[in-house]
């Protein structure tokens, strides 16, 4: 058992960090340089709406149990499901803030998207959705965490590189995809040798149905070890679905096919 900290000096420092952190928590504050730079680079001066939880929301544990594997969920309300063509997930204070750029097949009625990410230090985590008619919606949340990018490989490391597990919900509206991969960030140290572990991560994930791309995600070092992706649709997911994941720098392609158990061969 153990965790946590104290002793007056350390707590005083923590207090200062907290106060500084709450200033930076304001997405509009000038302290938040990473996002401001990315905003102008990615979206120029276009309006970005930030209101309405029914339309869109983002969820992550404010005090994450594990900075190296923090679950993030982006929800799309009924008015937005099917209208989103691109989602970007940005972790402001990560060394590589753009965690994922996800292109969706027009009309795919996506209600939620889940990823598991590394959080390097106290940060805003934001999702920006771009609709087929060119509107931008952004929601953000604050996560207290540190060390997620440099955390040593976990106990769950190993297994067969690129092994994929599919777990559908009973109604086949959602599919949880787990990929066996260290997704080394390049900021980790081998605890035995003390040497840096070179980056080795999944750079692209695609989901295809009947030759059509449903989802095409550019990812990177902010994904956790053994990354997971879940999609939740308003409708039953098409089957079979093919997953393709490509890593860097080895450019290995991992593929796997999910066939809906209830309806195998009938669609």
């Amino acid at each position: 058992m153990a965790t946590g900290s104290s002793a007056p000096a350390r707590l005083a420092a923590a207090l200062l960090a907290v106060l500084a952190g709450s200033a930076a928590a304001d997405g509009q504050s000038p302290a938040n340089g990473a996002w401001q730079n990315m905003r102008s680079h990615l979206y120029g001066t276009r309006d970005i709406s930030e209101s309405g939880d029914e339309l869109m929301s983002i969820e992550a544990p404010g005090s994450t149990p594990d900075p190296s594997a923090t679950p993030v969920t982006v929800h799309f309300g009924g008015a937005l499901a099917g209208q989103v063509k691109r989602v970007r997930l940005i972790i402001d204070n990560n060394p590589s803030p753009l965690a994922a750029t996800i292109e969706l097949k027009p009309g795919l009625p996506l209600e939620a998207l889940d990823l598991r990410v590394r959080i390097d230090r106290f940060t805003s985590v934001r999702a920006i959705a771009e609709t087929t008619d060119g509107r931008l919606e952004m929601r953000s949340t604050w996560v207290n965490a540190s060390g997620g990018c440099s955390a040593p490989p976990g106990a769950a490391q190993g297994g067969t590189l690129g092994e994929v597990r599919f777990r559908p919900s009973a109604d086949e509206h959602s599919l949880l995809v787990s990929i066996r991969h260290p997704n080394n960030s390049g900021f980790q140290i081998d605890p035995k040798s003390g040497d840096p572990i070179p980056p080795h991560f999944i750079a692209r994930v695609r989901l295809l149905a009947a030759g059509t791309v449903l989802m095409d995600a550019e990812t990177g070092i902010s994904l956790s070890e053994n990354p997971t992706l879940r999609i939740l649709s308003r409708e039953r997911l098409p089957s079979p679905l093919t997953l393709e994941a490509t890593d860097i720098p080895s450019q290995q392609l991992f593929t796997a096919v999910w066939t809906a158990p209830a309806s195998a061969g009938t669609r």
Binding site: L11, L15, A69, P71, A155, R230
Partner: protein, 324 residues
């Protein structure tokens, strides 16, 4: 703690803030930094077996250095210390407690696992030149944690905090085996477990009094913290529960007692329920956060620090079980 430490911070901003304000207000004076008693309070629970019961404090509270059960066993020739507390100063108070009861030398310092609250006092015994003993994987676990300990727990070492104060074992016990050490007419049997609470759990059985020190394989009253393997921990508890003829049990946290099965049962029930429920949540394609919301633990009220520890356990269990 190793990796769990890196992920650390199960504390909300408000709680950090509150703790910081308390510390600034001077409440920290009660901690190891303040005026200290001459020796740690210990209780002789069996002949020659002295236990200091750690305090049931949150992980971020002043006094967090003294939350684990630590103590020593006195033989005819020398003394074995079992766990040394969460700071060098707690280690020194334990050292003073040893000296208050015997003038025999300290020949072994046994670490039950890698977590800070059990090992940071090791350095207080370095001058006695005992054999430091632990699981064969303890050394690697300490190496993995070194940077984190220095970054986060520097105040619990002696200034200037240095890696040399994080003492690794010289006598190591291979996984799944026993090593006996002799204190002079008194043998202790050290057993190294496969991954369970951590990946380097060690238990100590004092043959003279049939006292079993479980380390953090057994938490009494405090929410068990998973940092090794959930399946391994359940298997270890089953094996530990079959230890014959135990008269006294010293858990890693909570009150020592004389009923091994009774000490294990609540923890086993929680861990078994965690295993069953997380497994079912994964099979249904639910995310970790959905699992955390949907699972039911009717007995949660009996556990201290549930809100701090349980979500982390779910996270650990989820990632262990998704690759079954």
């Amino acid at each position: 703690m190793d990796r769990a430490g890196v992920r650390g911070h199960p504390l909300g901003v408000l709680r950090v803030l509150g703790a910081a304000l308390l510390a600034l207000a001077g409440a920290g004076a009660a901690s190891a930094a303040g005026p200290a008693p001459a020796a740690l309070e210990v209780r002789e629970i069996a002949r020659g077996v002295f236990v200091h019961q750690g305090r049931p404090l949150p992980l971020d509270a002043p006094g967090h250095q003294d939350i684990a059960n630590i103590g020593f066993i006195v033989g005819a020739r020398c003394v074995a210390v079992i766990d040394t507390g969460g700071s060098v100063s707690v280690g020194r108070l334990l050292h003073a407690a040893v000296r208050a009861h015997t003038s025999l030398p300290v020949c072994y310092v046994i670490d039950t696992h890698v977590h800070v609250d059990h090992v940071l006092g090791n350095f207080a015994f370095a001058a006695d030149a005992p054999q430091f003993a632990g699981h064969e994987r303890l050394g690697a676990a300490l190496a993995r944690s070194r940077e984190f300990f220095l970054a986060t727990y520097a105040a619990d070492l002696e200034p200037p905090a240095a890696a040399a104060q994080i003492v690794a074992p010289q006598l190591t016990v291979p996984t799944g085996t026993d090593v006996e050490v002799d204190l002079g007419g008194r043998r202790l049997r050290l057993h190294a477990w496969p991954p369970a609470h951590t990946d380097c759990d060690l238990t100590v059985l004092d043959e003279a009094t049939h006292t079993l020190w479980t380390g953090d394989l057994v938490f009494v009253g405090r929410t068990p913290a998973l940092d090794g393997s959930l399946r391994g921990w359940l298997a270890a508890l089953d094996a530990l529960g079959r230890t014959a003829g135990v008269h006294h049990v010293v858990p890693g946290h909570g009150a020592p007692g004389d009923d091994l099965a009774g000490a294990i049962a609540p923890e086993r029930e929680y861990l078994a329920s965690l295993l069953t429920q997380v497994r079912a949540q994964i099979a249904a394609g639910h995310t970790e956060q959905e699992a955390l919301r949907q699972m039911q633990f009717p007995r949660r009220d009996r556990w201290l620090l549930w809100d701090e520890v349980h979500p982390r356990n779910v996270s650990r269990a989820y990632r262990e079980l998704e690759w079954e």
